[in-house]
C-alpha cells in the first residue's frame, strides 16, 4: 500500500469513527451552527459537491442544511473529512482522532472510569432530567424581526435608516418589531423603535399590546418604559385581560412606581 493510500485509510477511519460517535450520543449538546457545518462536511465527504436544487423558502431546515452543503463548494472528499474530524474534536465531547484504533473503532479498554470523561446523560447513574431541547424552526432569517430578536441594535438601526421597512409591519406570527423587542427584553431597541415612530398600542392577532408582551415575559424595564410613553393600559387581549391583569399586583407596582 502506498503512503497516500495509507493516509487516506486512516483519515476515513477517523471520519467514520467521529460520525459513529455523534450518532451514538444524540444528546450531546452541539450548537445548530456546528451541526450544520458537520452536515455539510458529511455530505461532501460521502457524496461530493452539492448537486440538488435549493429547497423552497418555507423549508427553513432543508434550506439551511442545503446552504451548509453548498457552501463548501468543490472541495475534495478528503478535505471535507478533515473538516468533519476537526470540528468534532474541537467540540470537546469525548471524541478525538487518537481514540481510533487499528480496526477503526473507538478504543475501549473496558475501564468504566475512563468512560465517564463525556457526559451523555444516559450513561450516568443519576442525573437531573431537564426538558429536551425543542429545536423546531430554530433558524431565523436576516430581516428586521431577526435582528430585533437577537438584540442587534446597529442592524435594526441600519434597516430603519434605509427607510425600506414599515416599522409597524407584522411578521407571520402577527407580531410587530416592538412586540418582539418587548418579548425579548431589548430595552435599547424598544426605545429606538418608539423614537422612530412605532405604534405603542399596536395589537397582535390576539389583541395584545407591546405592554402585554413586556408584562407577560416579565421584562420590567421595557414595561416601565412603555408605561412612561403613554401606552393605553386599558386594552384587553383576546383572553379579556389587560397587561397588568396578566402580571399580578407586585409586578404592576414595580412598573408604576417612580
Amino acid at each position: 500500500m502506498s503512503d497516500t493510500d495509507d493516509n487516506l485509510d486512516t483519515l476515513s477511519k477517523q471520519f467514520v469513527s467521529a460520525y459513529k460517535f455523534l450518532n451514538k450520543h444524540p444528546n450531546i449538546n452541539i450548537s445548530n451552527d456546528v451541526k450544520l457545518q458537520l452536515y455539510g462536511a458529511y455530505k461532501v465527504a460521502t457524496i461530493g459537491a452539492c448537486n440538488t436544487p435549493r429547497p423552497s423558502l418555507l423549508d427553513f431546515r432543508g434550506r439551511a442544511k442545503w446552504d451548509a452543503w453548498n457552501e463548501l463548494g468543490g472541495i475534495s472528499k478528503e478535505a471535507a473529512m478533515n473538516i468533519y474530524i476537526e470540528k468534532v474534536e474541537a467540540e470537546n465531547v469525548g471524541w478525538n482522532k487518537n481514540s481510533v484504533d487499528e480496526d477503526g473503532s473507538e478504543v475501549n479498554d473496558g475501564d468504566d472510569e475512563k468512560e465517564k470523561s463525556y457526559s451523555a446523560p444516559q450513561d450516568r447513574w443519576t442525573y437531573v432530567s431537564t426538558l429536551s431541547y425543542e429545536n423546531e424552526d430554530d433558524l431565523i432569517g436576516d430581516d428586521i424581526f431577526a435582528h430585533v430578536k437577537q438584540g442587534e441594535y446597529n442592524e435594526v438601526s441600519k434597516i430603519l435608516d434605509s427607510g425600506e421597512v414599515d416599522i409597524n409591519a407584522k411578521d407571520d406570527q402577527g407580531l410587530s418589531p416592538l412586540h418582539w423587542a418587548c418579548d425579548r427584553g431589548h430595552l435599547e431597541i424598544v426605545k429606538l423603535l418608539i423614537e422612530r415612530g412605532a405604534n405603542v398600542n399596536l395589537l397582535t392577532s390576539e389583541d395584545e399590546t407591546p405592554l402585554h408582551y413586556a408584562c407577560l415575559s416579565e421584562n420590567i424595564e421595557c414595561a416601565r418604559y412603555l408605561y412612561r410613553n403613554n401606552v393605553d393600559i386599558s386594552i384587553k387581549d383576546a383572553d379579556g385581560l389587560t397587561a397588568f391583569e396578566h402580571c399580578g399586583d407586585e409586578f404592576k407596582q414595580l412598573i408604576i412606581q417612580d
Binding site: 426538558l131 431541547y133 408582551y213
Partner: protein, 478 residues
C-alpha cells in the same frame, strides 16, 4: 427527537444488522451450551461452590463472545447505548440477567444462601477506609449524608443541576416502617472519619407479574467525586447485598439512569413547566428562537383554583381508604409497590410539609374517598446562575382512581392531574415531573408535559423475568 442532522440518515447498514443478528445467535448458542454443562455437573454441590462455578461459566461466556455492543431487545426502539458487556466487569459476576438473554422462566437466578454460609464480616475496603453504619436520627450524621449527596450524588462536574435532598426528605426516604439501620451503609476515611461513600437499602413489598416479594430497595449509591478511581461502588453493592442476605432477603429492586445488565423496563421523564420563564432562565428548558416568550408563558398558564368537587388535603383518617384504593388500582400493572399496612401508607403517602403532599377526593354526597394523588418535593440546585439558586421541582408519586371504564378514567385523570398542577403552582413549584409509568401517558400530552432528556431504568437483583413497557410499571422510587 433530534433530527439526524449529522448525516441525514439514521438506519444502520445492512452489514451491521447482520452482524448484530449473528452475535445474538452466538449468544443463544453459548447460553444453551452453558445450561447443558451445568445440568451435567455433579448433583451434590454446596451453594458456594455452585456460585463459584456459575461465576466461572459467566466469565467463560463473556470471553467467548466478542460482543462489541449487545443490542437492546427492548421494544421502545430507542438507540440508547448499551455498554460493551465485557466492560461490565462487576455486573458479569452478579446474579443479574445478561443483555440479549432470552427469558423463558421467571425466578431467582441463584439460590438463597443458607444463613450459616453467609459471610459474617464486612467486605474488605481499601486500607485507608472503614465501614460506618449511619444513625440518621443523629442530626450531625444526617447532615453528613446530606452534604455527601448534595456534592457528589450527581456525578459529573459539568452538570447544571444537582438534586438537593433535604434532611427531612432523607429521613422519609430511608426510615419507613421496619427500616433497618444496618442498611444505611457509610464508608469513612479512617484517619479523618470523613464520610465519603454511602448506599442504602429499605424493606419493600412488591409484586412482579404474579410473584409477591418482600425485598430490599437499593438507593442513594454515592461515592465522593475524588474517590471514583478507588472502585468503592462494587464493594458497597456487595456489602449491602451481604447485609440483606443476613436479614434473609435475596432479591432487590433498584433504578439507574445508566443501562446495566439488565433492565426490566425503561421509563422516560416528562416535565410540565409551571414557571416557564424561570425554567428558561436557568436553562432547564429552552425557548425556540422564533417562539415569543409571551406565548410560551401563556401556554402554561393555569387557573388559580382547583376544579374537582370534593378535593382536599389527605388527612390521617383517610389512610385506610387510600390503602384499599391504591392497592386495587395497582392490580392492573405488572410491577408494583404493595402497601401491606396502614402504617406504610401513613409513612409514604400522608402529607409531610416540604417532603410529600397528598390530596384526596371525597364524594360530597357519600363522604367516601374516591380518588387520591400525591407528589413529592425534590428541588435541584442550579449551578452557576447569578439569578437563580434553586429549581423547585415536584415529582408525581402514587395515585389512584376508581373509574373502571378506560375513557372515563382518562378524563378523570386529566382533571385530577390538572388540579395537582394548580396545587403545586400555588406552592411556588417551578416544574412538575413524572415518568411515563402507571397510566401517566393518559394525561402527559393533554396537560402539556414535555419529554425530558432523562431516562430511568428499572432493575431487579437475583430475579429473572420478562421485560415490560413502562406503562406496566407501578413502582416509584425516589
Amino acid at each position: 427527537m433530534d433530527d439526524q442532522i449529522y448525516d441525514g440518515e439514521s438506519e444502520s447498514s445492512p452489514a451491521e444488522k447482520l452482524r448484530a443478528k449473528q452475535e445474538k445467535k452466538n449468544l443463544r448458542k453459548a447460553q444453551k451450551k452453558a445450561a447443558k454443562n451445568s445440568s451435567s455437573s455433579a448433583p451434590v454441590m454446596s451453594p458456594a461452590a455452585k456460585q463459584a462455578e456459575l461465576q466461572e461459566k459467566v466469565r467463560i461466556l463473556v470471553n467467548q463472545l466478542a460482543i462489541r455492543e449487545a443490542m437492546q431487545p427492548s421494544s421502545t426502539g430507542n438507540s440508547q447505548r448499551v455498554k460493551d458487556m465485557s466492560s461490565h466487569k462487576f455486573w458479569s459476576t452478579q446474579p443479574v440477567p445478561k443483555h440479549g438473554e432470552t427469558i423463558e422462566e421467571e425466578g431467582p437466578i441463584e439460590e438463597n444462601t443458607p444463613h450459616d454460609q453467609i459471610r459474617k464480616e464486612p467486605y474488605t475496603l481499601p486500607k485507608e477506609f472503614e465501614w460506618s453504619t449511619l444513625e440518621l436520627n443523629d442530626e450531625s450524621e444526617l447532615n453528613e449524608l446530606y452534604t455527601l449527596l448534595t456534592n457528589n450524588y450527581v456525578e459529573d462536574d459539568d452538570a447544571m443541576f444537582r438534586f438537593d435532598y433535604s434532611g427531612e426528605f432523607l429521613k422519609w426516604a430511608l426510615q419507613p416502617p421496619g427500616y433497618k439501620k444496618t442498611w444505611h451503609v457509610g464508608v469513612r476515611v479512617s484517619a479523618t472519619k470523613r464520610l465519603v461513600a454511602f448506599v442504602s437499602g429499605i424493606p419493600a413489598d412488591i409484586r412482579i407479574y404474579n410473584s409477591r416479594q418482600h425485598l430490599v430497595e437499593i438507593n442513594f449509591l454515592c461515592v465522593h467525586k475524588k474517590l471514583r478511581s478507588k472502585r468503592l461502588a462494587p464493594v458497597l453493592i456487595k456489602e449491602i447485598t451481604r447485609r440483606s442476605h443476613l436479614e434473609g432477603i435475596f432479591q432487590a429492586v433498584y433504578t439507574a439512569g445508566v443501562v446495566l445488565p439488565r433492565p426490566i423496563s425503561k421509563a422516560r421523564y416528562f416535565h410540565r413547566s409551571l414557571n416557564p420563564k424561570k425554567l428558561i432562565d436557568t436553562k432547564f428548558s429552552s425557548l425556540p428562537s422564533n417562539t415569543p416568550m409571551t406565548r410560551h408563558v401563556k401556554k402554561y398558564k393555569l387557573p388559580s383554583e382547583t376544579s374537582t368537587p370534593g378535593i382536599r388535603p389527605m388527612l390521617e383518617k383517610d389512610v385506610p381508604a387510600v390503602r384499599v384504593l391504591l392497592n386495587k388500582y395497582m392490580s392492573k400493572f405488572n410491577f408494583v409497590a404493595v402497601f401491606k399496612t396502614d402504617e406504610d401508607v401513613k409513612h409514604w403517602i400522608l402529607t409531610k410539609e416540604n417532603v410529600i403532599w397528598s390530596y384526596v377526593v371525597e364524594n360530597p354526597d357519600t363522604k367516601k374517598v374516591t380518588d387520591f394523588f400525591s407528589f413529592y418535593y425534590l428541588p435541584s440546585s442550579v449551578i452557576g446562575n447569578p439569578n437563580h439558586k434553586t429549581v423547585n421541582a415536584v415529582y408525581l408519586f402514587y395515585y389512584a382512581v376508581q373509574e373502571s371504564d378506560e375513557k372515563a378514567r382518562k378524563s378523570r385523570l386529566q382533571f385530577l392531574l390538572k388540579d395537582a398542577l394548580i396545587l403545586a403552582k400555588l406552592k411556588d413549584v417551578d416544574v412538575f415531573n413524572c415518568l411515563d409509568i402507571l397510566e401517566n401517558k393518559m394525561f402527559i400530552d393533554e396537560l402539556k408535559f414535555g419529554p425530558g432528556d432523562g431516562y430511568l431504568n428499572y432493575y431487579m437483583y437475583n430475579w429473572r423475568c420478562r421485560e415490560m413497557g413502562s406503562e406496566d410499571v407501578g413502582v416509584v422510587m425516589l
